[in-house]
Symmetry: C2
Subunit: 437 residues, 2 copies
Amino acid sequence: MPQHVVILGGGFGGLYAARALGGKDDVEVTVIDRRNFHLFQPLLYQVATGELSPSDVAFPLRATLSRFRNMRVILGEAIDIDVERRRLTLSDGVLEPYDKLVVSTGARNHYFGNDSWEEYAPGLKSLEEATRIRHRILFAFEAAEREKDAAERSAWLTFIVVGGGPTGVELAGALGEIANDTLRGDFRHIDPAEARILLLDNSDRLLGTYPADLSQEAEKSLIRLGVRTMLGVRVTDVDETGVRIESGHRGSEHLHSHTVLWAAGVTGSTFGKALATRAGVPLERGNRIKVDEHCNIPGNSDIFVIGDLAQQSGPDGKPLPGVAPVAMQQGRYVASRILGKSQGPFHYFNKGSLAVIGRNEAVAWFGKVHLNGPIAWLSWLFIHLMYLVGFQNRIVVFLRWAFNYLTFNRGARLITGDPAPYVANRTAHKFSEHVNS
Amino acid sequence: MPQHVVILGGGFGGLYAARALGGKDDVEVTVIDRRNFHLFQPLLYQVATGELSPSDVAFPLRATLSRFRNMRVILGEAIDIDVERRRLTLSDGVLEPYDKLVVSTGARNHYFGNDSWEEYAPGLKSLEEATRIRHRILFAFEAAEREKDAAERSAWLTFIVVGGGPTGVELAGALGEIANDTLRGDFRHIDPAEARILLLDNSDRLLGTYPADLSQEAEKSLIRLGVRTMLGVRVTDVDETGVRIESGHRGSEHLHSHTVLWAAGVTGSTFGKALATRAGVPLERGNRIKVDEHCNIPGNSDIFVIGDLAQQSGPDGKPLPGVAPVAMQQGRYVASRILGKSQGPFHYFNKGSLAVIGRNEAVAWFGKVHLNGPIAWLSWLFIHLMYLVGFQNRIVVFLRWAFNYLTFNRGARLITGDPAPYVANRTAHKFSEHVNS
C-alpha cells in the first residue's frame, strides 16, 4: 500500500519535492495549489517592469507533473488541518488523510501591522500584483504627461521603492532603465528621464545580507541609473499622497509620490498560522515555523515545512535565507526522506547569491569571490535561464532579453486590467480642464 | 500653420492613418486611445485559448508612433463632440479644436438587447475579455475534475460557442484542440476528450460571408476536431445554467453548460452614438455610421469614420465587411486625402479572407481560388505573422506557434485574475464534501 504524500503549494519547494517523488512506486502524491501554475518568482519584477509577460515566468503545474501516473494536482486552497486525523480542510472540501505532509505555502507581503498601506504600496508576490505594479508605473508617466500642475506632475514622476533587499534593488534599477532608456522620446510634455526614483531602506546599506563591498557596488550602479538611495530611514506612513519617513539626522519628512512599491518584507503564509496552532508549535519571527534538521516540525516526523515558511538554522546557527535554492534543495531532501533514502540531516549547499541592477550591472557573491558589472550580469542571466521551468519559456525569455538588450525596448509594457485604477479615479478630476489646449 | 488631425482609436484604422501621417510637415497629429497599446484582434482568440500571451498580440502605441515628431499620443476616452466648435470632450478634459477628425473607435459585443447575457457569455473584443475567457475555459476542466455529480460534471465539460462566423469557428476549433490534445493526460478523474463543444448559429451554414463550399470544408474540419455544429438555432436565453435555444424542427431546448462564449455579433462603439447625434446623421444597422465614398460622414468633409464603426458600400452595393484589411486601407486612404494627395473615391482591394480552424486546418478564399487544409493554414500563418506589429512580437509568436505545433502544448494556459471567478463562487458549494475520498 503506497504512502499518500500531500504537497501543499507548487512553488520551488513543492515543485522540486513533487518532481523527486514522481514515478516512484511506493508513494501516491497529491499536489495542491491555489493557482494552476508554478511561478518563477525571481523574474517576477521583470513582469512588473514590462520586460516579460506573465506566461514567460509561469508554467502550468499539470503540464509538468501530469506525466507521473502517481501524481494528481488539485486546484484548491488549504485553510485548516486536523493533525490527529491527518486531514486537510480545503476551502471547498476535506481531503483524504495523508501519510506525509509537505507544507510549502511560502510567504506574503508584510506591512508591519499597517495593512492599510497595501492599497497604496503594492508588493510583488503574485502575477496579479506584478501586472498591477506595471499598470501603476506606466500610468504614472501617462498622467504626468497630461498634468498641468507642477507639484502634481512631480508627484507622478516620483517613484518610491521601500526596501533595499534584492527585490527592491532590482525594481529600482529597472525603474531607472524605464525612465532613462525605454520611454525616451515617447512623450511630448515630460522628459521621462526627469523621474525621481527613490530607494528607501532603514538599515545603513543596501543588500544587507551581502558582503559590504557588493552593497557599495550595487549602490554605485543604482546611482549611475539615476536612482537616489535613502538609507537609515524608517517609513512611518503611506497613503495616496506618498510616504512619510523618519531618519535620525533629518527628522520627519514627507515624500510626495503617487507610485510607491513595497519590497520591505514578507511574512509566513496564512496556512502557517493554522498549522502552528493545530500542531501546537510556536510561530517564529515573521510568522515562520521552526523546523529541525530534517525539515520536520517539532515532535512530528510526518509533517515537513520547507521554503519561505520554514525557519531552519544553517551550519553557522543563522537562519537559512528565504531564497529559491534553499526551497529547491529542501524539496528534494524531504522527497528522499519520504522515500527512505536519506538518513542524515539537511545540508544547504550555497551556490552563491546574485542580484541584478540593470543592463550589464549586477552583483554576485560566490563565497570568497565577489563579482560585479558585466560578468556578474552574465552569470545572473545564465543561471536564471537555466533554472527557468519549461523549454518554451526559456527560449522566449532569452529572445525577449536579447531583443530588449539590443533595442533598449520593453515589449510587454501594456496597461491592462481595470481601465480606471484607483489612482486614475482619485486623480482624474485633478487634470486641468483643457488638455494641452 | 499645420492642420491639427485628431485620430480617435488606435486599432487598425487609426494606426494605419497615423503611420501614413507620421513625419509629414503640414499636419500635427493627436492619437487618442483608452489603452496604451494597439491590439492585433485577429489573434485575440489565441490569447483566449492559451496559445499566446497578451503582450504577443499587443504593441505599445507610443513605441510605434513616438518616433514621429509631429505626433502625440493621449491615453484617454472621448465621450462627446461639439461639431460646430470642432472640439472633443474626453472623460477628463476638452481637447483643442481639430481641423480633421478620424473616428476609428470600432465595435463592441452585441447581445441583441439582452445585456444580462454578457455576464454568462463573455465576448472577445479586449485583452481583458480574452484572459477572462481563458480563465473560464481552464477553470471548467479543473471544476469538472473535482465534481462528483455526473450532471454537473457534464455541464462543466460542455462548451457552447454562440455564433458561427470566423471568431466562433476559430474559438470552437481551438476548444477542440485543447480538449483533445493540450490537456490529454492532465487529469485523473475526467478525460478532457469527453468535452462537448457546441457551435451554434442561426443561419443554415457556418462562415455565412464565405462561399458555400468553404463553409462545408470548415464544418468538416470542426467535426474532425470533435465540435458539434448546431445550425438554424436561435438563442432565446443565456444564464448560469446554460443556453436555451429554439429551432424550427426541434422546438425549444435547454443546453446545460457553465461555459458559454459569445461570438454572435458586434455593434458600433459608444462614441459612434454621440457623433451621430451631434452631427445629425442617422445610425445604420448595428449602430454603424454610413459614410460616403470618401469615408466622410454626410455633409462634413472634415470628419472621417473608418473601420468597424463605418458602413461603406462596396462596388457591388453591399457593405464592406468588418475586417482588418478594410480598416487598414481606409486608414491609409483618409491620410492621403488629408494630405491632399488623393482625389478619387476609396476602393477596397480585397486580398482574400481566411479563417483558421486548427492544426493544419483552415479555409481561404482568394476570389475564385478556394483553399482548405494545410495550404490554407500556411497562408493564414504567413499573412498573420507578416501583419503582426512589432518585430519582437513576430519572432516570439512564431516561436510559440512552432513550439505548440511540435509539442501539442499551449504555454500560456494560466488561470490568472480573480482567484474566485463568479462561476467558482456560485458553484464552490456544489463540490461534494470529500474531495476524491
